[in-house]
């Protein structure tokens, strides 16, 4: 079983007791549509935090706010004690990396070039490319297992390889905090596990703080050290998966009746949806939610 939250290993915590990335009473909205109101979240330093919840619960929106893509309508997001919007863009980019859901590989770009672009926040007009950049790019490609693809075109790669390349680009940014928005979407099961293993490695071996939005509750329970369960823009529960994932919680968050058993491989909670007959006359929304969680 994985260690719980607040493991003080790896990177040094700049100010003890206060986590580096927090949201205080944020109201998140797109135009007039309010997704979450007065939401407060702390990302424990050195954790692998995973945000879960049904579709449209605001998990990606929360991640966008934490990564300053979305300006809160009210409240504030703090990075190292400063309001994230007020910080110089490149300074944020050296501290906090993001792997967004949508990214475009430019036509005819090679893997090496794409990963190299992750060095942008460390460069300036006068300092465009250094031996250090080269070293970090090689290292990032080696860590994600794409070093041998360096000269290949990104368009030619498979979905799983491409996701590794984008992760390598985010790694080349060398940020202690890394946010990933549904990094396993559109991947086969073996590539999903592959990407999650890579994330766990980055967290455990390099002490990076990871925050990911995941669809699959079982993946979340297996890999997260800290789980945040969100529904309708509200945090229903947070903590170590082993402490909070219960049949009751899954029913409250996803509207799905289920059993929670021990994962025979890792001992983490494993959610087994109740058989169709057992759920039988369940309410319609529960059934809709059940089909989407997978």
């Amino acid at each position: 079983m994985r260690p719980g939250t607040g493991v003080p290993s790896g990177l040094t915590n700049q100010r003890s007791n206060v986590n580096r990335l927090t949201a205080e009473n944020v109201t998140l909205a797109y135009d007039q549509r309010v997704i979450a109101e007065r939401l407060s979240v702390e990302i424990p330093d050195n954790s692998f935090t995973v945000i879960v919840g049904p579709n449209a619960c605001g998990k990606s929106t929360l991640l966008r706010a934490l990564s300053r893509m979305l300006k809160p309508a009210d409240g504030r997001v703090l990075l190292d004690g400063a309001v994230i919007q007020s910080m110089p863009a490149k300074q944020v980019a050296r501290t906090l990396g993001l792997l967004p859901q949508s990214s475009i590989a430019p036509d005819g770009i090679t893997v090496g070039d794409l990963v190299g672009r992750g060095r942008y926040p460390h460069q300036g007009l006068l300092r465009q490319w250094s031996a250090e950049d080269e070293r970090v790019v090689q290292e990032s490609m080696a860590q994600t297992g794409v070093a041998e693809l360096a000269e290949r075109y990104v368009d030619e790669l498979s979905g799983g390889q491409r996701q590794r390349v984008w992760i390598a680009m985010a790694l080349a940014q060398q940020t202690p905090l890394l946010l990933l928005d549904e990094p396993t979407t559109y991947l086969d099961i073996q590539h999903q596990i592959d990407v999650l293993d890579l994330c766990a490695e980055l967290h455990e071996e390099q002490g990076r703080t990871l925050v990911a939005v995941l669809h699959d509750l079982n993946h979340a329970a297996r890999y997260a050290t800290h789980l945040i369960a969100l529904r309708d823009g509200e945090i229903i529960a947070e903590g170590a998966p082993g402490d909070i994932v219960t049949a009751d919680l899954v029913e409250r968050v996803f509207g799905l009746r289920c059993q929670v058993i021990d994962d025979p491989e890792t001992g983490t909670p494993l959610v087994v949806p109740a058989a169709r007959r057992a759920r039988g006359a369940g309410p319609a929304p529960a059934r809709a939610a059940a089909t989407k969680v997978s």
């Binding site: 110089p88 980019a93 990214s103 475009i104 036509d107 070039d113 190299g116 942008y120 007009l125 465009q128």
Partner: protein
């Protein structure tokens, strides 16, 4: 394999060679163009005259008549090349170039208003074209704006605006008498005939300010190719860079159009050709600039050679070349399954 200098070094070599070659081509075409006309001057004499060693007759023809025309050609080509590269990079679409977006039509509307309604002087026509281009550019930007400008919306809005302005232009032309109408049609084709130093200086000043500004933001623009989210994550202030570069691109395109008329397809083709030569992703701003200059002056030389001095406006040649290129682009993109 990558050399010790790293990957940016390797890419730069090819781009630098391309830029150098295009500059040589542009300058060579310029010298040939200066030597071409009713009174042909050999290239060697042109060079000698340019460096102050010619006889009085040659000096007048070269420095007063033909040099400013060629300089306008170089500057217009450069401005259209870099303006096109900016638009295409911002819209992430090769069709997002000023020709398609209706900036040329907007400038034409301004110029036609001056010619047809006010029978304006050439300075007033230039001013009208500039104003028309700027107004159209602003309108497109405002209409396409919705939490950031997105490629397809920009292209579609541009096409819509272009259609409206084209209709206005048609109306203005039907209102014109025969003298104004023929003047308008010549202007609308895009021509370098009769350009003098008065057109060179403002264009040169504008390029001297905007081109360094644009090149300074080239790296941020390169990041923006990967989508707004990724570039935000990398620390690019996406909206600010985009607004700044749009303004620069509209100014460059409008000024070029005001100076030489809506020379068609240079802004569309120059960045694409440059990109195929450098074989590198990214906006390829400097190669596009040089390609634009080389294309325009080269096309002008071809039209002068083939059809005689001042017979065929340069816009006809760039239109034919650009049209053929556009078809080829559509066919190859289709084969590659992108459209």
């Amino acid at each position: 394999m990558r050399g010790p200098g790293g990957l940016s070094f390797r890419l730069d070599v090819r781009a630098v060679v391309v830029v150098a070659l295009l500059l040589v081509v542009a300058l060579a075409a310029s010298v040939l163009l200066i030597g071409t006309g009713d009174f042909d001057i050999p290239a060697a004499d042109v060079l000698r005259t340019l460096f102050g060693g010619g006889n009085a007759g040659q000096e007048f023809i070269v420095n007063e008549l033909r040099l400013p025309r060629v300089l306008v050609g170089l500057l217009v080509g450069a401005a259209l090349g870099v303006g096109g590269a900016l638009f295409q990079a911002i819209s992430r679409n090769p069709l997002g170039s000023p020709d398609v977006l209706g900036l040329g039509q907007g400038a034409t509307a301004g110029a036609l208003t001056m010619i047809v309604l006010f029978s304006g002087s050439s300075a007033q026509v230039t001013f009208g074209a500039l104003a028309g281009g700027l107004i159209t550019g602003t309108a497109i930007y405002l209409l396409a704006w919705k939490r950031g400008v997105h490629g397809y919306r920009l292209v579609l809005v541009g096409i819509g605006v272009s259609a409206i302005v084209t209709a206005v232009n048609g109306y203005l032309l039907t209102r014109a008498d025969i003298v104004d109408a023929s003047r308008a049609v010549v202007w609308m084709t895009g021509s370098l005939n009769g350009r003098d130093w008065d057109q060179v200086w403002p264009l040169l000043a504008l390029c001297a300010v905007l081109v360094p500004l644009v090149l300074g933001n080239g790296r941020a623009l390169r990041m923006m190719e990967m989508g707004d989210d990724v570039s935000y994550a990398l620390g690019v202030r996406v909206e600010r860079v985009r607004a700044l570069l749009m303004v620069a691109a509209v100014l460059l395109t409008a000024a070029a159009t005001a100076a030489a008329g809506p020379v068609s397809f240079v802004a569309l083709t120059a960045p694409q050709l440059a990109r195929r030569l450098t074989r590198s992703p990214g906006p390829n701003l400097l190669p596009s600039l040089c390609m634009g200059a080389a294309l325009l002056v080269g096309a002008d030389w071809v039209s002068q050679r083939a059809f005689g001095a001042d017979q065929l406006p340069v816009g006809v040649v760039t239109g034919v070349v650009g049209g053929v290129y556009l078809l080829w682009l559509l066919v190859t993109e289709r084969k590659a399954g992108r459209i």
